[in-house]
Symmetry: C2
Subunit: 199 residues, 2 copies
DNA sequence: ACGGTTGTGGAGCGTGTGCTCCAATACGGG
DNA sequence: CCCGTATTGGAGCACACGCTCCACAACCGT
Protein backbone atom coordinates (compact mmCIF):
# COMPACT_ATOMS: atom_id res chain seq x y z
CA UNK A 1 0.00 0.00 0.00
CA UNK A 2 2.78 2.43 0.68
CA UNK A 3 6.47 2.79 1.20
CA UNK A 4 7.52 1.65 4.67
CA UNK A 5 9.42 3.95 7.00
CA UNK A 6 13.16 3.56 7.26
CA UNK A 7 13.06 4.89 10.81
CA UNK A 8 10.20 4.69 13.25
CA UNK A 9 8.91 7.83 14.92
CA UNK A 10 10.32 6.58 18.21
CA UNK A 11 13.80 6.31 16.74
CA UNK A 12 13.60 9.96 15.70
CA UNK A 13 12.27 10.89 19.13
CA UNK A 14 15.14 9.02 20.77
CA UNK A 15 17.64 11.00 18.75
CA UNK A 16 15.84 14.28 19.44
CA UNK A 17 15.84 13.42 23.12
CA UNK A 18 19.58 12.78 23.11
CA UNK A 19 20.19 16.13 21.46
CA UNK A 20 18.04 17.96 23.99
CA UNK A 21 19.63 16.19 26.95
CA UNK A 22 23.12 16.96 25.67
CA UNK A 23 22.66 20.57 24.59
CA UNK A 24 19.29 21.79 25.77
CA UNK A 25 16.43 23.06 23.68
CA UNK A 26 18.84 24.87 21.37
CA UNK A 27 20.62 21.63 20.54
CA UNK A 28 17.60 20.31 18.69
CA UNK A 29 17.84 21.39 15.06
CA UNK A 30 16.68 19.61 11.96
CA UNK A 31 20.23 19.46 10.69
CA UNK A 32 21.56 17.98 13.93
CA UNK A 33 18.78 15.41 13.91
CA UNK A 34 19.55 14.51 10.29
CA UNK A 35 23.23 14.15 11.08
CA UNK A 36 22.54 11.89 14.05
CA UNK A 37 19.92 9.62 12.48
CA UNK A 38 20.75 9.73 8.79
CA UNK A 39 17.17 10.75 8.10
CA UNK A 40 16.75 13.49 5.54
CA UNK A 41 15.24 16.87 6.06
CA UNK A 42 12.14 15.78 4.13
CA UNK A 43 11.56 12.72 6.31
CA UNK A 44 11.61 14.73 9.49
CA UNK A 45 9.09 17.24 8.22
CA UNK A 46 6.93 14.51 6.72
CA UNK A 47 6.79 12.75 10.07
CA UNK A 48 6.33 15.71 12.40
CA UNK A 49 5.47 18.68 10.23
CA UNK A 50 7.15 21.14 12.50
CA UNK A 51 10.16 21.47 14.79
CA UNK A 52 8.08 22.72 17.70
CA UNK A 53 5.74 19.76 17.28
CA UNK A 54 8.70 17.42 17.26
CA UNK A 55 9.98 18.95 20.46
CA UNK A 56 6.52 18.74 21.98
CA UNK A 57 6.24 15.09 21.00
CA UNK A 58 9.59 14.37 22.55
CA UNK A 59 8.49 15.95 25.80
CA UNK A 60 5.00 14.42 25.65
CA UNK A 61 6.27 10.86 25.46
CA UNK A 62 8.24 11.30 28.67
CA UNK A 63 5.68 13.45 30.44
CA UNK A 64 3.15 10.67 29.98
CA UNK A 65 5.57 8.25 31.60
CA UNK A 66 5.96 10.63 34.51
CA UNK A 67 2.24 11.19 34.89
CA UNK A 68 1.52 7.47 34.89
CA UNK A 69 4.09 6.90 37.60
CA UNK A 70 2.77 9.87 39.54
CA UNK A 71 -0.75 8.47 39.51
CA UNK A 72 0.46 5.04 40.52
CA UNK A 73 2.48 6.54 43.38
CA UNK A 74 -0.39 8.58 44.67
CA UNK A 75 -3.59 6.63 44.13
CA UNK A 76 -3.40 4.28 47.09
CA UNK A 77 -2.60 6.97 49.65
CA UNK A 78 -5.23 9.23 48.16
CA UNK A 79 -7.94 6.59 48.48
CA UNK A 80 -6.81 5.84 52.03
CA UNK A 81 -7.16 9.52 52.89
CA UNK A 82 -3.45 9.76 53.63
CA UNK A 83 -2.94 13.17 52.04
CA UNK A 84 0.44 13.86 53.52
CA UNK A 85 1.86 10.52 52.44
CA UNK A 86 0.42 11.11 48.97
CA UNK A 87 2.20 14.44 48.61
CA UNK A 88 5.46 12.91 49.80
CA UNK A 89 5.12 10.11 47.26
CA UNK A 90 4.29 12.59 44.53
CA UNK A 91 7.37 14.65 45.33
CA UNK A 92 9.54 11.56 45.15
CA UNK A 93 8.20 10.51 41.74
CA UNK A 94 11.06 12.01 39.68
CA UNK A 95 13.50 9.94 41.73
CA UNK A 96 11.50 6.79 41.06
CA UNK A 97 11.30 7.63 37.37
CA UNK A 98 15.07 8.07 37.29
CA UNK A 99 15.50 4.63 38.83
CA UNK A 100 13.41 2.86 36.24
CA UNK A 101 14.23 5.02 33.19
CA UNK A 102 17.06 7.51 33.56
CA UNK A 103 16.71 8.79 30.01
CA UNK A 104 13.09 9.71 30.59
CA UNK A 105 13.92 11.55 33.78
CA UNK A 106 16.82 13.34 32.14
CA UNK A 107 14.69 14.67 29.31
CA UNK A 108 12.20 16.11 31.75
CA UNK A 109 14.97 17.93 33.59
CA UNK A 110 16.25 19.43 30.34
CA UNK A 111 13.10 21.33 29.34
CA UNK A 112 10.96 23.98 30.97
CA UNK A 113 7.22 24.11 30.50
CA UNK A 114 7.83 27.28 28.49
CA UNK A 115 10.09 25.43 26.08
CA UNK A 116 7.25 23.12 25.15
CA UNK A 117 4.02 24.99 25.71
CA UNK A 118 4.58 27.56 22.96
CA UNK A 119 1.75 28.50 20.63
CA UNK A 120 3.81 27.34 17.68
CA UNK A 121 2.98 23.66 18.12
CA UNK A 122 0.52 22.32 15.53
CA UNK A 123 -2.82 20.76 16.20
CA UNK A 124 -2.52 17.00 16.45
CA UNK A 125 0.04 17.35 19.21
CA UNK A 126 -1.22 20.56 20.74
CA UNK A 127 -4.44 19.02 22.05
CA UNK A 128 -2.51 16.09 23.56
CA UNK A 129 -0.39 18.68 25.28
CA UNK A 130 -3.35 20.51 26.73
CA UNK A 131 -4.95 17.25 27.81
CA UNK A 132 -1.87 16.12 29.69
CA UNK A 133 -1.42 19.51 31.28
CA UNK A 134 -4.97 19.37 32.53
CA UNK A 135 -4.58 15.82 33.87
CA UNK A 136 -1.57 16.96 35.83
CA UNK A 137 -3.57 19.87 37.18
CA UNK A 138 -6.25 17.46 38.33
CA UNK A 139 -3.73 15.39 40.26
CA UNK A 140 -2.43 18.52 41.94
CA UNK A 141 -5.94 19.61 42.88
CA UNK A 142 -6.72 16.17 44.26
CA UNK A 143 -3.60 16.34 46.40
CA UNK A 144 -4.53 19.84 47.54
CA UNK A 145 -7.93 18.60 48.61
CA UNK A 146 -6.34 15.74 50.49
CA UNK A 147 -4.09 18.00 52.58
CA UNK A 148 -6.52 20.86 52.90
CA UNK A 149 -5.81 23.33 55.68
CA UNK A 150 -5.58 26.41 53.55
CA UNK A 151 -8.38 26.92 51.00
CA UNK A 152 -8.60 27.06 47.22
CA UNK A 153 -5.70 28.32 45.09
CA UNK A 154 -3.38 28.66 48.03
CA UNK A 155 -3.53 24.94 48.78
CA UNK A 156 -2.84 24.11 45.13
CA UNK A 157 0.11 26.49 45.21
CA UNK A 158 1.55 24.83 48.30
CA UNK A 159 1.17 21.40 46.73
CA UNK A 160 2.76 22.66 43.51
CA UNK A 161 5.72 23.82 45.53
CA UNK A 162 6.02 20.39 47.12
CA UNK A 163 5.49 18.32 43.99
CA UNK A 164 7.09 20.48 41.30
CA UNK A 165 9.41 23.16 42.62
CA UNK A 166 11.13 21.30 45.45
CA UNK A 167 11.83 18.18 43.39
CA UNK A 168 13.19 20.40 40.62
CA UNK A 169 15.55 22.00 43.09
CA UNK A 170 16.70 18.89 44.96
CA UNK A 171 16.33 16.02 42.50
CA UNK A 172 17.01 17.47 39.04
CA UNK A 173 20.70 18.17 39.64
CA UNK A 174 21.11 14.60 40.83
CA UNK A 175 19.25 13.22 37.83
CA UNK A 176 21.45 15.22 35.49
CA UNK A 177 24.50 13.90 37.30
CA UNK A 178 23.22 10.38 36.66
CA UNK A 179 22.44 9.15 40.15
CA UNK A 180 19.98 10.21 42.83
CA UNK A 181 21.60 9.81 46.23
CA UNK A 182 19.37 8.79 49.07
CA UNK A 183 20.48 11.90 50.97
CA UNK A 184 18.76 14.07 48.38
CA UNK A 185 15.55 12.06 48.70
CA UNK A 186 15.62 12.40 52.47
CA UNK A 187 16.28 16.13 52.20
CA UNK A 188 13.35 16.40 49.82
CA UNK A 189 11.02 14.53 52.15
CA UNK A 190 12.08 16.74 55.04
CA UNK A 191 11.61 19.91 53.01
CA UNK A 192 8.19 18.81 51.81
CA UNK A 193 7.13 18.08 55.34
CA UNK A 194 8.38 21.47 56.49
CA UNK A 195 6.56 23.31 53.70
CA UNK A 196 3.33 21.44 54.40
CA UNK A 197 3.58 22.46 58.05
CA UNK A 198 4.30 26.13 57.36
CA UNK A 199 1.40 28.22 58.66
CA UNK B 1 41.03 64.42 23.77
CA UNK B 2 38.39 62.27 22.19
CA UNK B 3 34.80 62.11 21.20
CA UNK B 4 32.55 61.64 24.24
CA UNK B 5 30.14 58.72 24.55
CA UNK B 6 26.53 59.28 23.67
CA UNK B 7 25.50 56.52 26.06
CA UNK B 8 27.25 55.28 29.15
CA UNK B 9 28.09 51.62 29.55
CA UNK B 10 25.49 51.40 32.31
CA UNK B 11 22.76 52.65 30.01
CA UNK B 12 23.58 49.86 27.58
CA UNK B 13 23.66 47.36 30.43
CA UNK B 14 20.25 48.56 31.60
CA UNK B 15 18.80 47.96 28.16
CA UNK B 16 20.49 44.57 27.88
CA UNK B 17 19.09 43.66 31.27
CA UNK B 18 15.57 44.61 30.23
CA UNK B 19 15.85 42.45 27.13
CA UNK B 20 17.09 39.46 29.13
CA UNK B 21 14.39 39.86 31.79
CA UNK B 22 11.67 40.11 29.16
CA UNK B 23 12.76 37.35 26.80
CA UNK B 24 15.55 35.39 28.41
CA UNK B 25 19.07 34.93 27.16
CA UNK B 26 17.81 34.60 23.57
CA UNK B 27 16.20 38.02 23.72
CA UNK B 28 19.56 39.72 23.89
CA UNK B 29 20.77 40.41 20.36
CA UNK B 30 22.85 43.27 19.07
CA UNK B 31 20.02 44.38 16.84
CA UNK B 32 17.47 44.34 19.65
CA UNK B 33 19.84 46.35 21.79
CA UNK B 34 20.39 48.85 18.99
CA UNK B 35 16.66 49.21 18.48
CA UNK B 36 16.04 49.78 22.18
CA UNK B 37 18.86 52.25 22.87
CA UNK B 38 19.45 53.87 19.49
CA UNK B 39 23.09 52.91 19.75
CA UNK B 40 24.60 51.60 16.57
CA UNK B 41 26.09 48.21 15.98
CA UNK B 42 29.57 49.73 15.99
CA UNK B 43 29.09 51.41 19.36
CA UNK B 44 28.06 48.21 21.03
CA UNK B 45 31.01 46.27 19.75
CA UNK B 46 33.37 49.12 20.51
CA UNK B 47 32.15 49.23 24.11
CA UNK B 48 31.98 45.49 24.85
CA UNK B 49 33.78 43.76 22.02
CA UNK B 50 31.60 40.70 22.21
CA UNK B 51 28.02 39.67 22.84
CA UNK B 52 28.98 37.07 25.39
CA UNK B 53 31.06 39.63 27.23
CA UNK B 54 28.15 42.04 27.21
CA UNK B 55 25.92 39.37 28.68
CA UNK B 56 28.56 38.51 31.25
CA UNK B 57 28.91 42.18 32.21
CA UNK B 58 25.16 42.45 32.61
CA UNK B 59 25.14 39.49 34.93
CA UNK B 60 28.30 40.53 36.74
CA UNK B 61 26.92 43.92 37.77
CA UNK B 62 23.95 42.30 39.48
CA UNK B 63 25.86 39.34 40.86
CA UNK B 64 28.15 41.76 42.66
CA UNK B 65 25.12 43.42 44.21
CA UNK B 66 23.90 40.03 45.36
CA UNK B 67 27.26 39.01 46.75
CA UNK B 68 27.62 42.26 48.70
CA UNK B 69 24.20 41.78 50.25
CA UNK B 70 24.97 38.15 50.96
CA UNK B 71 28.14 39.07 52.84
CA UNK B 72 26.36 41.77 54.78
CA UNK B 73 23.57 39.35 55.70
CA UNK B 74 25.93 36.69 56.86
CA UNK B 75 28.93 38.36 58.46
CA UNK B 76 27.48 39.15 61.87
CA UNK B 77 26.04 35.68 62.45
CA UNK B 78 29.21 34.09 61.17
CA UNK B 79 31.38 36.03 63.59
CA UNK B 80 28.99 35.20 66.41
CA UNK B 81 29.31 31.51 65.58
CA UNK B 82 25.63 31.31 64.75
CA UNK B 83 26.03 29.05 61.71
CA UNK B 84 22.41 28.09 61.41
CA UNK B 85 21.20 31.68 61.53
CA UNK B 86 23.83 32.61 58.94
CA UNK B 87 22.61 29.97 56.50
CA UNK B 88 19.02 31.08 57.00
CA UNK B 89 20.00 34.67 56.31
CA UNK B 90 21.98 33.63 53.26
CA UNK B 91 19.02 31.73 51.88
CA UNK B 92 16.79 34.75 52.35
CA UNK B 93 19.17 37.09 50.53
CA UNK B 94 17.40 36.96 47.15
CA UNK B 95 14.21 38.09 48.86
CA UNK B 96 16.04 41.02 50.47
CA UNK B 97 17.63 41.90 47.16
CA UNK B 98 14.19 41.91 45.53
CA UNK B 99 12.95 44.30 48.20
CA UNK B 100 15.66 46.85 47.62
CA UNK B 101 16.19 46.39 43.88
CA UNK B 102 13.66 44.29 42.03
CA UNK B 103 15.36 44.72 38.67
CA UNK B 104 18.60 43.30 40.05
CA UNK B 105 16.83 40.30 41.51
CA UNK B 106 14.89 39.74 38.31
CA UNK B 107 18.01 39.63 36.17
CA UNK B 108 19.55 37.01 38.40
CA UNK B 109 16.46 34.82 38.07
CA UNK B 110 16.56 35.11 34.28
CA UNK B 111 19.97 33.55 33.75
CA UNK B 112 21.60 30.28 34.63
CA UNK B 113 25.25 30.00 35.53
CA UNK B 114 25.67 28.13 32.24
CA UNK B 115 24.28 31.09 30.30
CA UNK B 116 27.08 33.28 31.59
CA UNK B 117 30.02 31.02 32.36
CA UNK B 118 30.68 30.02 28.74
CA UNK B 119 34.23 29.96 27.42
CA UNK B 120 33.30 32.54 24.79
CA UNK B 121 33.64 35.52 27.12
CA UNK B 122 36.73 37.61 26.50
CA UNK B 123 39.50 38.34 28.92
CA UNK B 124 38.85 41.62 30.72
CA UNK B 125 35.48 40.34 31.90
CA UNK B 126 36.34 36.67 32.17
CA UNK B 127 38.73 37.14 35.07
CA UNK B 128 36.19 39.26 36.95
CA UNK B 129 33.78 36.41 36.43
CA UNK B 130 36.16 33.84 37.85
CA UNK B 131 37.00 36.10 40.77
CA UNK B 132 33.38 36.55 41.72
CA UNK B 133 32.65 32.88 41.33
CA UNK B 134 35.47 32.11 43.70
CA UNK B 135 34.35 34.69 46.25
CA UNK B 136 30.94 33.10 46.27
CA UNK B 137 32.55 29.73 46.76
CA UNK B 138 34.42 31.08 49.76
CA UNK B 139 31.23 32.31 51.37
CA UNK B 140 29.67 28.90 50.85
CA UNK B 141 32.68 27.19 52.39
CA UNK B 142 32.62 29.55 55.35
CA UNK B 143 28.96 28.72 55.91
CA UNK B 144 29.70 25.03 55.58
CA UNK B 145 32.39 25.31 58.25
CA UNK B 146 29.98 27.14 60.51
CA UNK B 147 27.33 24.42 60.38
CA UNK B 148 29.72 21.49 60.22
CA UNK B 149 28.29 18.14 61.14
CA UNK B 150 29.10 16.38 57.92
CA UNK B 151 32.64 16.80 56.60
CA UNK B 152 34.24 18.35 53.55
CA UNK B 153 32.46 18.46 50.20
CA UNK B 154 29.24 17.08 51.60
CA UNK B 155 28.78 20.04 53.94
CA UNK B 156 29.38 22.48 51.10
CA UNK B 157 26.82 20.60 49.03
CA UNK B 158 24.23 20.82 51.81
CA UNK B 159 24.86 24.53 52.20
CA UNK B 160 24.64 25.03 48.43
CA UNK B 161 21.27 23.34 48.50
CA UNK B 162 20.12 25.70 51.24
CA UNK B 163 21.56 28.90 49.80
CA UNK B 164 21.22 28.35 46.06
CA UNK B 165 18.83 25.59 45.10
CA UNK B 166 16.06 26.10 47.62
CA UNK B 167 15.87 29.87 47.11
CA UNK B 168 15.79 29.30 43.36
CA UNK B 169 12.86 26.97 43.79
CA UNK B 170 10.84 28.98 46.31
CA UNK B 171 11.83 32.61 45.73
CA UNK B 172 12.56 32.95 42.02
CA UNK B 173 8.97 32.41 40.86
CA UNK B 174 7.87 35.08 43.31
CA UNK B 175 10.54 37.48 42.16
CA UNK B 176 9.52 36.97 38.55
CA UNK B 177 5.93 37.62 39.53
CA UNK B 178 7.04 40.90 41.05
CA UNK B 179 6.40 40.34 44.73
CA UNK B 180 7.79 37.95 47.32
CA UNK B 181 5.04 36.92 49.70
CA UNK B 182 5.99 36.32 53.27
CA UNK B 183 4.54 32.81 53.00
CA UNK B 184 7.27 31.92 50.54
CA UNK B 185 9.95 33.23 52.85
CA UNK B 186 8.58 31.25 55.76
CA UNK B 187 8.39 28.13 53.62
CA UNK B 188 11.99 28.69 52.61
CA UNK B 189 13.14 29.09 56.19
CA UNK B 190 11.30 25.92 57.15
CA UNK B 191 12.74 23.98 54.24
CA UNK B 192 16.27 25.18 54.98
CA UNK B 193 15.90 24.13 58.58
CA UNK B 194 14.64 20.73 57.53
CA UNK B 195 17.49 20.19 55.10
CA UNK B 196 20.08 21.22 57.68
CA UNK B 197 18.61 18.69 60.11
CA UNK B 198 18.52 15.82 57.63
CA UNK B 199 20.95 13.12 58.78
C1' DA C 1 2.77 -6.25 -13.76
C1' DC C 2 1.11 -2.22 -12.70
C1' DG C 3 -0.80 1.87 -10.22
C1' DG C 4 -1.87 4.25 -6.07
C1' DT C 5 -0.03 5.66 -1.84
C1' DT C 6 3.36 6.88 1.33
C1' DG C 7 7.91 7.90 2.66
C1' DT C 8 12.63 9.80 1.15
C1' DG C 9 16.40 12.83 -0.48
C1' DG C 10 18.18 17.11 -1.26
C1' DA C 11 18.38 21.63 -3.45
C1' DG C 12 17.35 25.98 -2.20
C1' DC C 13 14.73 30.23 -0.30
C1' DG C 14 14.16 33.72 3.17
C1' DT C 15 15.46 35.36 7.55
C1' DG C 16 18.06 36.49 11.63
C1' DT C 17 22.34 36.19 13.79
C1' DG C 18 27.25 37.65 15.40
C1' DC C 19 30.69 40.15 13.79
C1' DT C 20 34.07 42.99 10.69
C1' DC C 21 35.35 46.94 8.55
C1' DC C 22 35.91 51.62 7.58
C1' DA C 23 34.49 56.30 6.61
C1' DA C 24 32.55 60.02 9.15
C1' DT C 25 32.23 62.64 13.47
C1' DA C 26 33.06 65.36 17.68
C1' DC C 27 35.83 66.63 21.18
C1' DG C 28 40.21 68.70 23.67
C1' DG C 29 45.08 69.87 23.91
C1' DG C 30 48.91 72.10 21.34
C1' DC D 1 42.95 76.59 14.47
C1' DC D 2 43.76 72.09 13.58
C1' DC D 3 45.17 67.46 14.57
C1' DG D 4 45.16 63.12 17.22
C1' DT D 5 41.95 60.22 19.40
C1' DA D 6 37.96 57.97 20.89
C1' DT D 7 33.39 57.12 19.41
C1' DT D 8 29.72 56.45 16.07
C1' DG D 9 26.95 54.78 12.04
C1' DG D 10 25.95 51.53 8.88
C1' DA D 11 26.89 48.53 4.92
C1' DG D 12 27.85 44.04 4.38
C1' DC D 13 29.87 39.13 5.04
C1' DA D 14 29.46 34.35 6.41
C1' DC D 15 26.73 31.24 8.55
C1' DA D 16 22.94 28.55 10.71
C1' DC D 17 18.39 28.12 11.04
C1' DG D 18 13.30 26.59 9.86
C1' DC D 19 10.91 25.38 6.22
C1' DT D 20 9.11 24.49 1.19
C1' DC D 21 9.08 22.02 -2.77
C1' DC D 22 9.24 18.30 -5.82
C1' DA D 23 11.27 14.47 -8.28
C1' DC D 24 11.99 9.87 -6.97
C1' DA D 25 11.81 5.26 -4.57
C1' DA D 26 9.58 1.39 -2.32
C1' DC D 27 5.82 -1.15 -1.02
C1' DC D 28 0.94 -3.60 -1.46
C1' DG D 29 -3.50 -4.74 -3.33
C1' DT D 30 -5.41 -5.83 -7.42
Amino acid sequence: MARPRLRTADELLDAAEALVVDSGRGGLTVRALSARTGASNGSVYHAFGDLESLLASTWLRRARQYLALLRQSVDADLLAGEGRRAVLAAADTPARLAEQDLRAARLLTALTRDDVLTDGVAEPVASDLRALDQELGEVLRALARAVRDRAGRAAVDVVTTCVVRLPAALLFPEIRAGRVRSLARRQLAAAVGAVLDTP
